[in-house]
């Protein structure tokens, strides 16, 4: 592969990774995996919103619960905006709803990390060339 082509491919992989992180499923959409993109977008968004609904936006706490915040940030950089809003301490969440909300939002973020890796790997290997069992067409 020529050097310029390698650089272009590297930039493309970077774009796929950034898009996949910014909007869940967008990385797969770029590599023309539409069904996968829709499934990922709907599932991760619903999981994250369910977490916010149960525990309120107070579950995004970059100060008091920063380890959870790292996981939540994997869902999208938009979580950082929510983090800035909740940093004021006006939205608090305690007890069981906070626990469940944090688990939901953090798992949504970690699942998106899995999808980012999947999108980059599929872009690297070529669409449909992901490691796994062959399926009947």
């Amino acid at each position: 592969m020529p050097k310029q082509s390698k650089i272009d491919h590297g930039i493309f992989l970077l774009v796929v990774a950034v898009l996949a992180w910014t909007v869940p499923g967008a990385g797969h959409l770029v590599i023309k995996e539409r069904k996968r993109a829709v499934i990922i977008f709907v599932t991760i968004t619903l999981t994250f919103i369910t977490g916010l609904y149960i525990g309120s936006v107070g579950v995004i706490d970059p100060v008091g619960a920063w380890p959870w915040y790292i996981g939540q940030m994997m869902a999208s950089p938009a979580v950082g905006v929510l983090g800035q809003i909740t940093r004021t301490g006006h939205y608090t969440s305690y007890g069981k709803p906070a626990d469940i909300g944090q688990i939901y939002t953090c798992i949504a973020g970690l699942l998106n990390l899995l999808c980012v890796i999947s999108a980059v790997y599929m872009a690297y290997a070529g669409r449909g060339e992901i490691i796994g069992e062959d399926e009947d067409v």
Partner: protein, 82 residues
């Protein structure tokens, strides 16, 4: 606009969830999400019917395993605490 404000307001205060056994049921929607995303990243080509079937099988497997682990932990606590 007012309706939008009401929708946003529902995200500013936590839901009322007790400390009872029913609160454990919240694990199942999460397991469904994990099953869907895992299968979406794992299968080579997505055929909706087959995808749905495989996801359902994985979801049921996860539910059974989680229930067994919960039962084992509960039994362990019951034995230790008498």
């Amino acid at each position: 606009m007012c309706e939008f404000g009401l929708i946003v307001a529902t995200f500013t205060s936590p839901e009322n969830i007790g400390m009872d056994v029913k609160s454990l049921l919240w694990v199942f929607p999460l397991l469904a999400s994990v099953a869907v995303i895992y299968k979406a990243t794992k299968v080579r080509v997505i055929f909706l019917r087959r995808f749905f079937t495989e996801t359902l099988v994985l979801f049921c497997t996860l539910c059974i395993v989680m229930t067994l682990i919960a039962a084992l932990l509960h039994a362990g606590v019951w034995i230790i605490t008498g």
